[in-house]
């Protein structure tokens, strides 16, 4: 009964303080556009469950489960309280916040039972919000323009790439043919030379040996390197299985091993069960050792690493070996691209010329003249070598272009500009490096590198990039990072956070994040804010 009394006093005092345009008491907490709904004598609960009388509206007793009858009190847990917040944006509060002693609406209308006094802060807060919003809009406007430009550039670049690719593919064919011809010719020459050599054999055996050696090396050069790589992989596997074997030994005989350890080691070991800290460290060292530290590295490789991923990683790291530490890093691959662009432009004339030379050469070298004209044979060899090199670089270029173009580069291909770039930011002792379409890593010092994830996809309609399947976490998931795109005039990596262990979150501010739709939304919001301007106040 006393509360009811309090309430009426509070409401009376509220009435006194409100201007004529304010809602009447019974309409407390109701949005102006909803007031008509409550004007009848009998009102329906919005969920249709039952009806209540006008006297039951805001009588501080919950009749409708959905809170229809108590928009202005805390009586119904599901009720919503509307604050007009003149001078700022109107908001809707949970009824749990009405008369709870905490000022939630900037106009203070949610606290009317007299327990606390809330200052009306809507004008200040509104002005701040409007200014902030205006700044944001200004940035968006500029950003949207930059974005448009970048989209155009990207489109152009993509079509250029596509054109280049089709040219390259055609040329690959002819080059391939030419190389084959040269090869046949070269082999014939070499056969002839071989015969001659045989005759000379007795005279100069050692000399022949040298030549033969040389040839073998040359012919199987490429294969050789492959084999050696295979060997290396084999070695790694051997090492791994060996270490696994040792593991089991240790595990089987754990007790003895513990006794061999110092007290401190045991302490650390036991602590690591909960933290996984050192186990984690080991893995990190492992990924860090990718930069070719050999045996140690193989020993420390994450045991369940996907071999495909590892291979990819290996390949990639060889490219990224020597990156400088500026915040935007162009990969060496990009330089290659520029080189290649020149190549494409001149390719046809060059090719024709080369074909001419070769044809001439092929014709001019006499088949049966003996002794062979050394000069001609050398020329053939040289031509062969050169065209093989050309072919393989053309092929390399084709595959890199194909790789690039197969990516999802956005609705308008706008993310083309991010391809091949990396963005860095330093936080605490770590440097985070995000390379869109490729990978994300965390570096600590020079040698400590943790893979946060490999490129997976865009998410949330191109507003976030996801890198997943990074280095494993103790007792947890493999690391992953989500990079949210935010509108900014420069492309730079800002925040990096680890909200959940081993799940990172970063923000990349970039003009690509400045969407026209969002700009319109912001402009609409500002317009609304300005509309709410109370009379008697002027923005200036």
């Amino acid at each position: 009964m006393k509360v009811a009394f309090f309430l009426s006093i509070a409401i009376l005092s509220l009435l006194a303080s409100w201007s004529s345009s304010s809602p009447s008491v019974s309409f407390l907490g109701i949005a102006p556009q909803d007031e008509n709904y409550f004007r009848k004598e009998t009102i329906k609960c919005r969920n249709g469950s039952r009806k209540f009388t006008k006297a039951q509206l805001n009588d501080d007793f919950c009749d409708c489960l959905d809170g229809t009858d108590e928009p202005g009190t805390s009586a119904c847990p599901e009720g919503k309280f509307y604050c007009r917040n003149v001078g700022h944006l109107p908001t809707s509060l949970y009824s749990s916040m009405v008369n709870d002693g905490i000022c939630d609406c900037c106009d203070g209308s949610d606290e009317y039972d007299g327990k606390v006094k809330c200052r009306n802060t809507c004008w200040e807060a509104g002005k701040k919000a409007r200014d902030k919003l205006q700044k944001l809009i200004d940035m968006y406007r500029e950003g949207v323009t930059i974005r448009k430009r970048e989209v155009e550039q990207a489109k152009e670049a993509i079509s250029k790439d596509k054109a280049e690719l089709s040219v390259l593919k055609a040329e690959e064919k002819s080059l391939d043919k030419l190389v084959n011809q040269l090869k046949v010719r070269k082999e014939q020459i070499e056969k002839a030379e071989g015969k001659e050599q045989l005759e000379k054999d007795n005279e100069d055996r050692s000399n022949a040996d040298v030549e033969e050696n040389f040839e073998t090396t040359e012919a199987s050069g490429k294969e050789d390197s492959l084999t050696s790589e295979d060997d290396v992989i084999g070695l790694v596997e051997q090492d791994e299985s060996k270490s696994e074997h040792e593991d089991t030994n240790v595990a089987e005989d754990g007790s003895e091993s513990i006794e061999d350890m110092s007290k401190e080691e045991i302490g650390r070991l036991v602590a690591s069960r909960w933290t996984g800290e050192r186990t984690g460290q080991v893995e990190e060292t492992g990924s860090g050792a990718d930069s070719n530290e050999g045996k140690d590295g193989s020993l420390n490789k994450p045991s369940d690493g996907d071999s495909k991923t590892n291979a990819y990683d290996h390949h990639q790291s060889s490219i990224t070996d020597d990156l400088d530490s500026s915040s935007v890093v162009h990969e060496p691959g990009l330089d290659k691209q520029t080189q290649f662009l020149g190549f494409t432009i001149h390719i046809q004339s060059w090719l024709r010329k080369m074909q001419d030379v070769s044809q001439n050469l092929l014709r001019s070298v006499s088949w049966f003249s003996s002794p062979l004209d050394n000069l001609d044979a050398d020329k053939i060899r040289e031509e062969y070598k050169e065209s093989t090199a050309r072919l393989s670089s053309a092929q390399e270029r084709i595959s890199s272009l194909t790789e690039k173009l197969k990516h999802d580069l956005g609705v308008d291909g706008e993310f083309y500009t991010l391809y091949g770039q990396c963005f860095e930011t330093k936080q605490d002792k770590y440097v985070y490096k995000i390379c869109p379409f490729k990978e994300a890593v965390q570096e600590e010092g020079q040698y400590h590198k943790t893979q946060l994830g490999y490129w997976e996809k865009f998410e949330e309609s191109y507003s976030a990039m996801l890198f997943s399947n990074g280095a494993g976490c103790w007792n947890g998931p493999r690391r992953s990072i989500k990079v949210k795109l935010r509108c900014g005039l420069k492309t730079e990596l800002t925040d990096v956070d680890e909200p959940s262990r081993c799940e990172y979150l970063a923000v990349l501010s970039t003009p690509l994040g400045c969407l026209d739709g969002k700009l319109k939304e912001l402009e609409g919001k500002l317009e609304m804010l300005q509309k709410e301007k109370p009379e008697g106040h002027d923005e200036l």
Binding site: F61, L65, V282
Partner: protein
Amino acid sequence: MASRIGGCRRPFLLLFLLSLASQTAFSWKKDEFRNCNQTPFCKRARSRKPGYCTLIADQVSISDGLLTAKLIPRPIPNQAEGEEDHQQIAKPLLLSVAIYQGGILRLKIDEDPTLDPPKTRFQVPEVVVSEFDETMLWLSRVSTETLDGDSAPSSVVYLSDGYEAVLRHDPFELYVRDKSSKSRLVSLNSHQLFDFEELRVKNEGEEWEERFKGHTDIRPYGPQSISFDVSFYGAEFVSGLPEHATSLALKPTKGPGADDSEPYRLFNLDVFEYLHESPFGLYGSIPLMIALGKSGKTSGFFWLNSAEMQIDVLAEGWNADSGLSLPSDQKRIDTLWMSEAGIVDAFFFAGAGPKDVVSQYTAVTGKPAMPQHFATAYHQCRWNYRDEEDVENVDAKFDEHDIPYDVLWLDIEHTDGKRYMTWDSVMFPHPEEMQKKLAAKGRHMVTIVDPHIKRDDNYYIHKEASEKGYYVKDSSGKDFDGWCWPGSSSYLDVLSPEVRSWFSDKFGFDSYKGSTPSLYIWNDMNEPSVFNGPEISMPRDALHFGGVEHRELHNAYGYFYHMATSNGLVKRGDGKDRPFVLSRAFFAGTQRFGSVWTGDNTADWDHLRASVPMILTLGLSGISFSGADVGGFFGNPEPELLVRWYQLGAFYPFFRAHAHQDTKRREPWLFGERNTKLIRQAIHVRYMLLPYFYTVFRESNTTGLPIMRPLWMEFPSDEATFNNDEAFMVGSSLLVQGIYTERAKHVSVYLPGKELWYDLLSGSQYKGSQTHKLVALEDRIPAFQRAGTIIPRKDRYRRSSTQMVNDPYTLVIALNSSRAAEGELYIDDGKSFEFLQGAYIHRRFVFSNGKLTSLDLTPNNKKSKFTSQTVIERIILLGYSPGPKNALIKPGNEKVEVGLGPLVFETGLGSSSLVVTIRKPSLPVDKDWTVELV
């Protein structure tokens, strides 16, 4: 960290760690802990046969109000040739029996101090409360009788109106029996397994050292264990002995059908990833056993001893070949108790019902502290909330999602390098401001303070503690140095009152920098956990205050640490602010200092299920304020498991969500809208019931009864409840049944007693003494209000319980078959100790003959007063057929409207059917009144 490891060892260690990493995910390290066979005293005691004991009670007499005797070896006049003469003891032992009010017997057996023992054996101090000593009955009379077949007499003394205690002289045996029927209730040494290893001086060449996993225990006093058998007569099952992850009714561990089992071990240990079903010792120990028989006859046995203890529950037929005969007309459960050290200081509780036994036990060890109101609400924890921004975000999200919570917790990472009572200056540069921001919303914060102290001379606590010699010493007398979170650490010797007092001063606001009045404390790792110690704990030969060996004290170390912390918070608030301290380790009496939780559980359904018997057992053992980590500490719960855990956890006395740092974030809003709603509803149910919970907390505070109770505590004569540890009561009015399986379609729930039960949220009626197969609903677990009860609620949710103080109450009256019901409501200021002076409101509501009456339960001689402006806004009647349109309130003769309304105020919860509601009676909660339906 790794770089500090010695160079040559590193590769080996790495390998070792790798292998560890692959194992850790699966289970606890069984090999790291001793089993009974690796524990000499346990192995010896367990292998003895009935009839082993040859002691008799000699010189039985009454002295100083006690029944006293000497235990001496039985003289053997005609010893047969070749028969081994095992002299059990070299010097007589002193025995005394004391009787206390309310049916409590205390038996002490110790070495005779006048016979010059090498050392005084340890008696655990400060567990038995001083008020208990005052209830001793001064014995003046002993009668003797000679039992059938005995050659020697037995001495009989009064125990209570229904029971007497019998000391049989030869063979020595002590038991409690019914006065009139002479049938036994509980007995000691009926199987003559009693053994008491007296302290000796080491003989030349004797090997006393014990080795385990590279640790050597020098055992300077040699073997000193004690063991004996205890029998419970008429018992259907026994319960108790926390802490184990096992069923409420303790399964046999020895005898037919239980051959491979270990005994129940009581040895406080930090067990990594404990199993959900095992007799293995966990973080705390209470050597209390409660036996329940048909028609609810209950007895209890408590051995006050803080050394390692192992207890066997013996399966029927375990002694088939012993040849000893006990009264055969009584069903019986035999148990074997073994302890490494200490004395016999045992309490027999004569019941007669389960509530009586708990009340008797808590008369000895103290009633549970009355918590602050906020502590009974929802707690949000995680290892770790990383920085101030994280804290702010999490706090804001609760508001954004309209989910109430009261306490935000900070785990070890908030400190400066695990130096407790300091702050990481980068992550938490403004701790006071942070706490004040929370406090402005009525929220509190808890920080962790562990007993290991970083050995760093620049750390003020270490500096002072080492200078003052306040650390536990190793066997050589140097400060014990063990490894824990901060690295090399020492441990405060909290057995010493001086050290405790010094340490408790450290919680003062001037000492604990960055602490504010809204900050409370969490004690973890106080078993104590020592990462490089034997069994991840402290060596048994470490030395404490007064030359006490760690082996004698071990299980009470955490208890004394908890005590010091709790006292620190009382001091901090000038004795005006109730402390809140959560502890992982516990011992008998812990209930006086705060709450406990069940430690590092795992996010799986088995652990969800195991949490119920674990909390029930704690409650039976006095620790009524306990809970399990909601969601499971290790691992990532599926959303369904998390939701079910919240639904169950909302009924735990201590309701806290917690998670390991390597788990995914799992705050309530991270699992999609639907799950957010489900979790919000579960938390809302708790907040709605807070007035009821707080009333039950007060009941616990005065009587010792648990908050969360086995069904058989409320329905002791209903045998169908004896094996039920999946459902439980909250107080005496609410029954809750968890859902413990994934994608459950149905759930069976047994509702005891003759009366009806009303679904807590829909009001549907269910018959008692039946198992009901219910459809498993997504949005809640089955919960019922018992017919004949009145539950007070608050139906407005707020950010935290703090803002609910002035919100009006709802009374839910569930009518029984005689259309009557009763219930209580307790209110105080929720914070101070003023309630001890009578500053509280305590009402009894009685409904009968269509009239609800509010009666005052507060005593007349109150020194202090508490008033409240709050009113009852709504009265709901379940089981009342609609009819009356009005209700008449007296005094005042005001008429209020009676109509139909919802039972709960949340869409989706409950049902759409409406219940009889007295609308806006606006009854003052602190006044006498009646409401009559007319």
